[in-house]
Symmetry: C2
Subunit: 427 residues, 2 copies
């Protein structure tokens, strides 16, 4: 039986999970996959952490050069996260001709082209299932399961922290700040939650997933991004009344030619949409392919064992496939000059504003929308006998830029006190 040596760079949550999966399933993989996967080296400064996992002292290193020059190591697993030193370590592994398996979405979405160029030089494999949506095998599916399709769109709930927060806000009627605090206590959100709650994490993943799905390099800079920090529980409750659920969505669209649209922002979806029941820290990606139609993949987007599952599945794939494949598109720093990134995208909108309870306000608001050719589907006026009343409306599909101009004009109307929320409505 073929023995394949694995090195793990970093024994954090995912690294430890990966090590345990490899250790505890060794016989299982020998039997079912015909390969003996042996952890030959770990790179970890905290030596005790490695010893506590039962790793032999001789296999623990704090020197990347030592790890990548180890002739027993065939596959290097990078689970450090962030750009540096992960990038240098991955490049060192690739230069040595070792295949790399990574869970590093930030590194991957920013420097995929550079890592791929390095991999091509030594014909090394480059695997990144674990970089997107944890244990859900979305990348394998895009590469080897739905490749017959022109993927027309993908819509994902691909950040567990924000989904956990929004689910609890919706379930409990609690405020964002309150739930965030609790999520931090419970380990669902980091001390500095910016990467999650401002949508950066989802944008990293969307950049990778849409590049794969649309066969074009989609740089992070082209992903429109809004987080959930301004979401009020009031919006969630009004949305609920109208039959909607609020999610942080990552949306990619492809016209099948050269136009790509990529955006991460909170959005309402109908409560009977399959994504609407993806709750708590679960993730899902909803795809539409030109032949297959609608497909959804659902599962855990993070965690030691779910992400470890993706890593080890990639390790097995790398260990049992001698052919190496790279991106299906020209993977360069700059995107193809023919690719057009749509910024004036089309959507429906939920708008909440506060107005003085005076005759004629609604007529003025309606007049502004009419001027910008925006039609209104639904309008609810809340409360009576109070001075300032909340008004909620939902528009038909319109262009982002027209909508923004209309909102500016509405804010200028005398009896409009404030425009409180503008939230897209999708699906």
């Amino acid at each position: 039986m073929k023995t394949v040596g694995v090195a793990i760079l970093g024994l954090g949550v995912v690294g430890s999970g990966t090590y345990k999966i490899l250790r505890d399933h060794r016989e299982f993989y020998r039997k079912t996959q015909g390969v003996d996967l042996s952890v030959e080296s770990v790179l970890e400064i905290n030596k005790q952490r490695a010893l506590d996992l039962g790793i032999e002292e001789s296999k623990i290193s704090d020197n990347i050069a030592e790890v990548v020059s180890n002739p027993n190591v065939d596959i290097v697993v990078e689970v450090i996260g962030g750009v540096e030193p992960a990038k240098s370590f991955v490049l060192a592994a690739l230069h040595s001709g070792k295949s790399v398996v990574t869970s590093n979405k930030e590194l991957f979405c920013k420097y995929w082209y550079e890592l791929e160029a390095a991999a091509r030089r030594t014909n090394a494999g480059l695997y990144y299932e674990a970089s997107c949506v944890g244990g859900v095998p979305i990348i394998r599916t895009l590469i080897d399961g739905l490749q017959a399709n022109v993927v027309q769109s993908l819509t994902g709930i691909i950040n567990g922290t924000t989904n956990y927060i929004l689910t609890r806000m919706s379930r409990e009627g609690s405020d964002y700040k309150e739930v965030l605090k609790d999520a931090q206590k419970l380990g669902y959100a980091e001390k500095d939650p910016t990467a999650d709650v401002e949508g950066y994490d989802a944008a990293y993943k969307l950049s990778i997933l849409s590049s794969l799905a649309f066969h074009k390099r989609v740089p992070l800079e082209n992903v429109y991004r809004e987080g959930i920090t301004n979401i009020s529980v009031k919006d969630i409750e009004y949305g609920k009344e109208l039959g909607y659920v609020l999610k942080l969505l990552a949306i990619g669209k492809n016209d099948g030619k050269n136009s790509i649209e990529v955006r991460v922002h909170p959005a309402f979806i109908r409560k009977d949409h399959p994504l609407a029941s993806v709750n708590d820290s679960f993730n899902a990606v909803y795809l539409v392919g030109d032949s297959v139609g609608d497909v959804m993949l659902y599962g855990r987007g993070a965690g030691d064992f779910p992400t470890g599952s993706a890593i080890v599945s990639d390790v097995i794939y790398a260990a049992t496939h001698s052919e190496v494949k790279y991106a299906t598109f020209k993977n360069t720093e700059e995107p193809d000059k023919n690719t057009k990134f749509v910024t004036d995208f089309r959507s429906r909108y939920f708008i909440r504003f506060t107005a003085k309870d005076k005759a004629g306000v609604l007529a003025k608001v309606a007049g502004v929308f009419a001027k910008y050719n925006i039609s209104i589907i639904d309008l609810i006026q809340k409360g009576e006998g109070i001075d300032e009343i909340p008004i909620i409306l939902i528009t038909h599909e319109t262009n982002e830029f027209s909508l923004r101009r209309a909102i500016e004009k509405i804010a200028e109307i005398d009896d409009v006190v404030s425009v409180d929320s503008t939230i897209r409505v999708e699906g």
Copy 2:
């Protein structure tokens, strides 16, 4: 660029869909997959059908020997269905060293071992994504996406016809026979609906999926099977009141050692379970892996283009991977003698019976359950002031055989008029 020749056996619904996908995406696959897929031959008795699709006359054949000896053909797509002549044709292709891509679940679940033995002799590839759950890439996922996991269970809605019928019965409160008739008119059910409504189709797929998931041959004969023909709309409505949705489920369980449980039958699941909102002709498979946790794949389980998507994805995979892989288990006619197929499985149960409205009936019924150590979670007695009242109860988890014995005893109670339904409750 590599040119790969494809032959299609049978231009029925799926065959025609496959042909159209290959024809219309040829340039797309050249660009994204680096392979030129050319349909070099079709086997079709109805020549006009082939001509109508725009296939050149010289490529139309009614002779399998001619097709498989064509040196331009590398991959043979079998979409005839049924055992013969499909089996002979597939074997002929494999004998000639051509890789085979098939959507034929019946053939595959009954003769996988024989097809694999033939494929191994000539090192031909054998691909069968399209045999299970149409366009949903569940097989690729099991082989190449979740292979790091010991799959503990899979629960699927894997027959579109029955899901369509049950969804409509639930939505409209209509009777089985009525909805079936309409489904036949609309093309969702065949004239002879037996294979679907009696659960054979789902059993074929479960045999294949559980063999793959559990790394053991699971013969069709070991799949317990019940259809939906005895389902009353009353059960669906009572279940709804209790928070349940009725589905035809295909369930596979694996204790990680040698015990396998495989069964297809109607079952109630909680309305907030992700499978509960899989409606109409959509399909889904819910998996639990020891590392990844819960994963669900959702999509169209049938149709020309969805199933064509699976076929063409397999064709691309076959055309772009030179290594051929076979089953991860010993694929012989007889299952491994160590494999134990559980028949006395555990479940909860929904039981509906009719009793005379007399004091003491419930006590007698409860007494029988107590005798068999079955505890009751929920009991509803419907109607008052009528002679014969319906009683619905839901049990805690118990063994199938104990439950059956208890039901027999209950039917014997004097004031019990009839035991109307016994439906498992899962999830």
